[in-house]
Symmetry: C2
């Protein structure tokens, strides 16, 4: 990247710098390439370090750059489309489910989860932990909360702990007739345990998908899934991913 | 808020501080209340300013705090559920659409939009700008790209500019049989113009929803909608919003 002087423009300086940097990423850098350090970049673009840092933060939010401790700032690959909503309602763990069960514990859920499940705040529920990978990388972590009343026949089954128990709980849950299912997507920050699993720093921006499974007119199970916001684009609808990005197309090399 | 000393814990300091601050917000502050300044907060919790700032950033990502230039940091109201996906497919502008048309121009779209619409990169398209309000506040801004071939009879109609022209374009579009519709949700940063409309700073985190409308086997229109990530929770499904938050319930006062 050669020396580039910015022309004076009415927009904030970091915003214009972001656009210039974005074009430089397209034309001069390959996916995975490590960017020069902040001091050098600031000098080349004739801006203050603080301005540069603001522009880099924008590009990170937009998924163009990844900053990783000990590695530096690298050019990010295009985001991966991860199918979240389908038109068909289905219990977790049924055929075609992209999630892998990891373990299952019985524990008192967060107060807000207990309220949504309409159970007493101190009532333990089956808590299934699952993970989801895409293109060989873990992209999401899920906690699935299932009250004892949703799996009444489980107690009669001698199931070991871990993933086997998670599968047994999900099989029992599937005996209920699923009436409805709705979802919400919001911005969140990665909890310490999710961050470790997702190879992110605690507090990194994540997309939190909350799914409510309705049976017999009540919430029979509740899932909170945490997706990496840097690498994932959540897709909804039968025909799969929407292949559109803001700004110029990115090149893989 | 009294002086609170943090006990030593294995998690990052700012992460533990975030939890403590979150509890203080629940018990001691009302929605809309302005927080003490950073210097005072840091002193009260016995942490460095940098640690405090990291914790405040987390709480902002989670929608607990809002930072606004000239106002300071305030306690955010609970996020508003905004219905994005329904099970029924519909063209923009049909009955029940929550969006208000603002204007319509004919312009060359971004390269990625042209590629998704499978039109030449220099072909102008109808670009309808719409806004969406919820509880009296603008929560989202949309650009809707419609190639001339999707509205073939428009040229015969004498429509003025502005919102009236936008409505005329959408009425023409509705003559096509809508075959399919899919969506993607991803993290983005607010463009300068969207930021102004949404009362945010340029570069603030936003949720970008891209919707593809399919007719006659091709993409007949493409929408990119930018939602405030601080105040919105996007909901999908027939039964409306999922009323669940991570962590303790928030109190309105």
């Amino acid at each position: 990247m050669g020396t580039t002087q910015l022309e004076p423009v009415p927009e904030p300086k970091y915003w214009h710098l972001k656009t210039v940097l974005s074009e430089a990423l397209d034309s001069e850098f390959a996916v995975g390439e490590i960017l020069p350090n902040e001091r050098d970049l600031a000098a080349r673009f004739g801006v203050a370090r603080a301005t540069l840092r603001q522009a880099l933060e924008q590009l990170e939010l937009e998924g163009r750059l990844q900053r990783r401790r000990g590695v530096g700032t690298t050019v990010a690959p295009p985001r991966v489309g991860v199918a979240v909503g389908t038109e068909r309602h289905a219990w977790p763990g049924t055929a075609g489910d992209a999630w892998q069960p990891v373990d299952c514990v019985t524990a008192v859920p967060p107060a807000a989860v207990a309220a949504a499940l309409e159970i007493p705040a101190d009532e333990p529920v089956h808590t299934v932990r699952r993970t989801r990978t895409s293109h060989g990388q873990q992209v999401a972590a899920e906690l699935l909360y299932i009250p004892a009343t949703s799996v009444p026949d489980l107690s009669g089954i001698d199931t070991p702990s871990g993933a086997a128990r998670a599968r047994a709980v999900l099989r029992e849950l599937q005996h209920l007739p699923l009436e409805d299912q709705d979802r919400a997507v919001e911005l969140g920050s990665a909890r310490a345990d999710d961050a470790r699993e997702l190879d992110r720093l605690p507090g990194a921006p994540v997309l939190v998908v909350t799914t409510r499974f309705v049976a017999s007119g009540r919430t029979a199970a509740l899932s909170t899934a945490t997706y990496r916001a840097d690498t994932c684009r959540l897709t909804f609808g039968a025909s799969g991913g929407v292949e559109i990005h803001e700004g110029p197309e990115r090149r893989a090399s």
